[in-house]
Amino acid sequence: MTFYSPVITNAAEVAGSDKLHLFRYVEDANQTKIETYESHGGYGTWRKVLTTKKPDDVIAEVKASGLRGRGGAGFPTGMKWGFIPKDSPKPRYLVCNADESEPGTCKDRVIMERDPHAMIEGMAIAAYAIGCHLMFVYIRGEFGHCIETVDKALQEAYAKGHLGKNVYGSGYDLDMIVHSGGGAYICGEETALLNSLEGEKGMSRIRPPFPAIEGLYACPTIVNNVETLTTVRHIMERGAQWYRTMGTEKSPGSKIFSVSGHVKRPGNYEVELGFSLKKLIYDPQYGNGILGDKKLKGVIPGGASTPFLTPDQINVGLDFESMTSVGSMLGSGAVIVFHEDTCIVWAILKLIHFFRHESCGKCTPCREGTGWLEQIIRRIEHGGGKPGDIEKIEDICGNILGRTICPLGDAAVMPIQSAVKHWRDEWQYHIDHGKCLVPTRFEFV
């Protein structure tokens, strides 16, 4: 039986649109069944690609579409695929990163739960493009139901001959393995994910060598996000030109945004890139405004690891460039909204607690720094802050930022730095008075 999480989506809007595509069938309870998926044209693209296109054509098409990775960094997908060495005798691997654990992000989960075949089809096309015969999907351990759904979809795809030996009589073999993560945030980072997949401790590897050169079992490996790979299927179905009609010049296409926090209508919404953040929060179709009609205090626009935006900054387009221009990042598209009754110290304590807990412990600044930061912020929150603590926090953040193996260190300190910058007086008040500046503290349920 399929577990169906009650997440709000804008599937109706997507179904009515001739462009948006990812959420078209997610409200259809039968979409996880292969018969339904196939009746919507499912696996037709994979068959067409495999029987009529060359791998290089696929890479060229994806390059032309301008698709950028949806996992957070926004690296051009086609370019990444092009890094696979052409002359290596080693096998190549495709790994779908479904370890969705960035706080606030729950978009991949919806795809896996409600449209798993689209992901599998996208993976198959990507695998063919890079010459891979064995692909993996690494699913976050906590997503037990997703693992079941994807596994069931995989069995169906094998049974129907979409995967396995000699797919569609083309002579191309393609196998897929579903792997369950062990519950570590860091395993969403691609090198830690590869370590974990190999059976090692989930700790990030130093780069270079990049996974495209030496990844899984030291073989060329491409790691892509669920949403990215699912999008590949749609690009190959309708073409790069169509894809470019959405979004902006440098950030084409559409993307799912997970809106959470103090909004009236939290949910997953697929919109074109460049869509207004303000509209996403306030439009009744999407966030429908702030809970209790309070004032907005700040927004984390791209998952817990991106810097805060203040209310005067939210009139901005949700695309990679615009977000950078206001000092934050698009990240994984997790819009977390805080209203005026949020104590920023308390909110940051929750964040740093998470990052301290999830730091893998490999490199010194992140391992020791996140623990130290949590201790300082905890004492400020609990009324024991000392003069100089703000400067100390800033200094420690500076000593972590850009000094670690993987981006977890950066992720941990960037929201802190921005929170200290935007609401410094609130921090100071907390230290001086031992309590919150905000009169009534509203906590998440």
């Binding site: 010194t364 020791e368 623990g371 850009g402």
Partner: protein
């Protein structure tokens, strides 16, 4: 990426600028290594020259132009035109920040920490750190439950104590254990700042290389219980020495307390050509036997039925007189001698001269545990064992073939080398043996041939090579000389399929650089001549040595030295000529080797033996027969460190000084002459063997050497001779002898060294005894199930020649009907189970009930 070895033959060079200094290094070098090579210091914690870089500690930051962030130099490859600064303000700030992070939770218990004075963290904090900490919280503490100590020390192995509070999580212990040693008994647990190093669940850190983990720990988190709380490092002196328990001769350093005659510990003295800075636990803790209370303190002489302590003069005069008497009455042919191949060159040469010049006999040998010795000097095995072999060549070999060797027990250094070759290159490694061995974990494939079919396997390999490449020269001539002469029956007999043999032959034919190691299963086999002949044929057929190296590796610290000095009855003709020139003569008689001497003794035709540092009664196959043989002697003089079964039968026992107590030179398996300096003065009244022999010779009024200088010059001249014997000019006959097997004894017994022991002396080293204190029967899980035994249950092992009881250890490696028994323990004499006449030692076992 970060290998320090030069693996590519023609390397592209890159030039970069470090601190305004131009540095040119091979492509692939890291910025750190480039800087270190140019004499520019960059601090490190987690970097180790022999491990892959992980960039964990972040102390090695450098600033590189055009790169926005600080880079870790240990994992950044030097490129052309790179401009690096190692001492800019931003780098210094970065370093300080890392030290502050590390020290935040470090207990700073330096006054009670054994690492104090040689601690990387102390030194780097002194050089680069802040003078105060801004960390004002309680430090993280890993409390050991149930231990009311503020030190939180946890024992994780027989010799290793762990203090997790001090640990800075550089992971060098875990990484080296896994990468360099292939062991998994230590690991990192939990994550983030709760991360801790600990022994694997339910395990002890007791692998044969475990001491290295302590040595490379940059702080006092891992300490040896051997050294803890005994002495501060600044109150010690160091002496360079050699590991004499290993034929590679790893370089070591002894630490001795100032003004006292006591060694406190051993650490490695990295020599990249031999040991890469890794030493075995035997090398590390073996020194303790020197300070064992069981050391012989004074000469002993048998008076009546008891051995009583006497003065040196009395003992020496008595030995000289008795040897002269036997010489007068029965002739010098009735005197023989054995010297241990772990003695230094001076002692070995003195022994040779003493036997040949002073006594005039040619009955002498250094091979103390071989079953069968060649009758002819130009035997196939002599050829095989005299071939040159270079340890460092393993690094760059593309095919590594280990034949009949349990490497971890026999040649641990070479095992580590092969591991390294695997980590940093892509060689094809094959392990071929008659039983499963631990070292096969570095092999691409492990092949098991049927017991006693070494030569059939090699014949099969030759035949497979001919099938793969019929153009190989002399193929027909070879086929006439070997049996079986067709591939399929050879494959059937040795139990390795024809397909596998062909695949192996292909790699041998196609390999560009081959290292072919032949181990104890050949060297100690009764039929080693036949096996060696087969190996000579293989080399002739596919030309291994023209593309690499192939040798039966020497087993003891100075085996090659003994060989080169001619310590066998029939030395290499060049050596014989040199000795004749030096001494103006050479004994006319042919002389007997070890086995020959024993049969002469049994016949009553050899009456006196001089034994230096050897214990044949306990180590030579067939305990009872050897003991009976020795009882027939008229006169036995033994010099040793301890009382042994052999000294118990002696008329005179002389206390021998250990290798730590005098300066000596040793020749390792590569033929490299290395010196072990004197670390301490001889303990008690012990003397080096060369001094004992000089005393006896002087007492006989036939002085050995006029001076130490003369002795050294003689050694120089003899060592200058080559002892490499040429490969045979034609294919040799290889007719496999029949393997006798009695169905009543279905299990193959393997006797060898425990990984933590060597020969019969290391059971006197307290730390090594902690790893393994008594013999055990290591058996495969199948056998354990069959006999319903578990770890610790007693079993009786019986062969046709003897029986003994020992506790069971269920193996993680062995499979099938094979048991292993260590030979290192005086209580359980492994040699009582085996016979010199058998090719395979067959036994049966039963569980001892109750």
């Amino acid at each position: 990426m970060s290998t320090s070895t030069t693996t590519q033959p023609a390397v592209k060079m890159v030039t970069l600028t470090i601190n305004d200094q131009s540095v040119t290094v091979p492509k692939g070098t890291t910025v750190l290594q480039a800087a270190l090579g140019a004499g520019i210091h960059i601090p490190t914690f987690c970097w180790h020259p022999k491990l892959k870089s992980v960039g964990a500690c972040r102390i090695c930051y450098v600033e590189i132009e055009k790169m926005p962030k600080l880079q870790v130099s240990c994992a950044t490859e030097a490129t052309d035109g790179m401009v690096v600064k190692t001492e800019s303000d931003i780098v210094k700030r970065g370093r300080k920040a890392v030290l502050e992070f590390i020290l935040a939770n470090h207990p700073l218990d330096c006054p009670t920490c054994d690492k104090g004075g040689e601690c990387d963290l102390q030194n780097l904090t002194f050089a680069h750190g802040l003078d105060d900490s801004r960390f004002d919280f309680l430090k993280r503490r890993h409390i050991v439950p149930g231990v009311p100590s503020t030190f939180d020390d946890l024992r994780i192995g027989p010799e290793i104590m762990l203090n997790r509070n001090r640990c800075i999580l550089c992971y060098k212990c875990v990484r080296s254990n896994k990468e360099a040693f292939g062991e998994y008994d230590i690991g990192a647990f939990e994550r983030g700042n709760a991360m801790e190093i600990n022994a694997a669940p339910g395990e002890q850190v007791a692998n044969p290389f475990s001491g290295n983990l302590v040595e490379i720990c940059p702080v006092g988190a891992l300490t040896n219980s051997d050294w803890r709380y005994k002495i501060r490092v600044w109150l010690t002196q160091t002496t360079p020495s050699i590991d004499i328990f290993n034929s590679s001769g790893s370089n070591i350093l002894f630490y001795k307390e100032d003004h006292k005659n006591r060694i406190f510990r051993t650490i490695s003295r990295r020599n990249d050509e031999i040991d890469d800075g890794w030493i075995t636990d035997v090398a590390r803790y073996g020194y303790q036997l020197v300070h064992s209370p069981d050391r012989l303190q004074k000469p002993l002489m048998k008076k009546g039925s008891k051995q009583v302590p006497v003065e040196w003069e009395e003992a020496v005069a008595f030995v000289a007189r008795r040897l002269a008497e036997i010489d007068d009455t029965k002739g010098c042919v009735c005197i023989g001698g054995l010297a241990s191949p772990t003695l230094d060159l001076d002692s070995l040469h003195s022994f040779s001269k003493f036997m040949r010049k002073v006594i005039g006999t040619n009955n002498l040998d250094f091979r103390i545990d071989y079953r069968s010795l060649p009758e002819k000097p130009d035997s196939a095995f002599s050829t095989l064992s005299s071939q040159p072999f270079t340890i460092a060549e393993i690094d760059t070999s593309d095919v590594i073939f280990v034949f009949g060797s349990d490497l971890v027990k026999e040649h641990p250094n070479e095992y580590l080398r092969i591991r390294k070759a695997r980590n940093f290159g892509r060689p094809l490694v094959y392990s071929v043996n008659s039983f499963n061995v631990k070292s096969a974990d570095v092999a691409d494939r492990e092949f098991i041939y049927a017991p006693g079919t070494e030569e059939v396997f090699i014949n099969g390999l030759c035949l497979a090579a001919i099938e793969e490449n019929p153009g190989l020269s002399g193929a027909d001539g070879l086929k006439r000389k070997i049996s079986p002469a067709d591939l399929n029956s050879a494959a059937k007999t040795c139990g390795v399929s024809a397909e596998d043999l062909k695949a192996l032959a292909r790699t041998l034919i196609n390999g560009k650089k081959i290292s072919f190691i032949v181990g104890d299963q050949v060297s100690l086999s009764r039929d080693r001549e036949v096996i060696a002949a087969a190996l000579c044929n293989l080399n002739r057929l596919v030309g291994i040595t023209s593309r690499g190296q192939m040798a039966a590796l020497a087993r003891y610290a100075d085996s090659i030295g003994a060989e080169k000095l001619g310590l066998i009855p029939n030395p290499h003709p060049d050596v014989k000529r040199a000795l004749t020139d030096l001494w103006g003569g050479f004994p006319e008689m042919a002389g007997y080797h070890t086995e020959g001497m024993f049969s002469q003794m049994l016949k009553g035709e050899l009456d006196a033996m001089v034994i230096l540092g050897a214990n044949p009664v306990a180590m030579y196959p067939d305990h009872e027969a050897v003991a009976e043989t020795f009882e027939k002697l008229d006169f036995l003089v033994v010099a040793d460190l301890f009382e042994t079964e052999t000294t118990a039968m002696a008329d005179v026992v002389l206390p021998l000084a250990s290798w730590t107590e005098f300066a000596g030179r040793y020749v390792n398996l590569e033929g490299r002459i290395q010196k072990a300096e004197r670390a301490i003065k001889p303990l008690y009244e012990s003397k080096p063997a060369y001094a004992i022999l000089a005393d006896i010779a002087a007492a006989a009024r036939k002085p050995l050497f006029s001076s130490a200088r003369e002795r050294e010059e003689e050694i120089e001249k003899v060592l200058a001779c080559t002892t490499v014997r040429p490969w045979p000019g034609d294919y040799l006959d290889v007719r496999p002898p029949a393997i006798d097997k009695d169905p009543a004894y279905p299990i193959m017994l393997i006797i060898g060294d425990d990984p933590h022991h060597r020969c019969y002396v290391t059971e006197k080293a307290a730390s090594l005894v902690k790893f393994c204190s008594d013999a055990y029967i290591e058996l495969s899980p199948e056998l354990a199930e069959k006999f319903k035994v578990e770890d610790g249950d007693a079993v009786r092992v019986e062969s046709k020649y003897g029986k003994l009881m020992a506790p069971v250890k269920v193996s993680r490696v062995l499979e099938g009907d094979v048991v292993f028994l260590p030979r290192n323990f005086s209580v359980t004499r492994a040699n009582s189970l085996v016979s010199r006449k058998a090719r395979i030692d067959w036994v049966r076992i039963n569980k001892v009930s109750g």
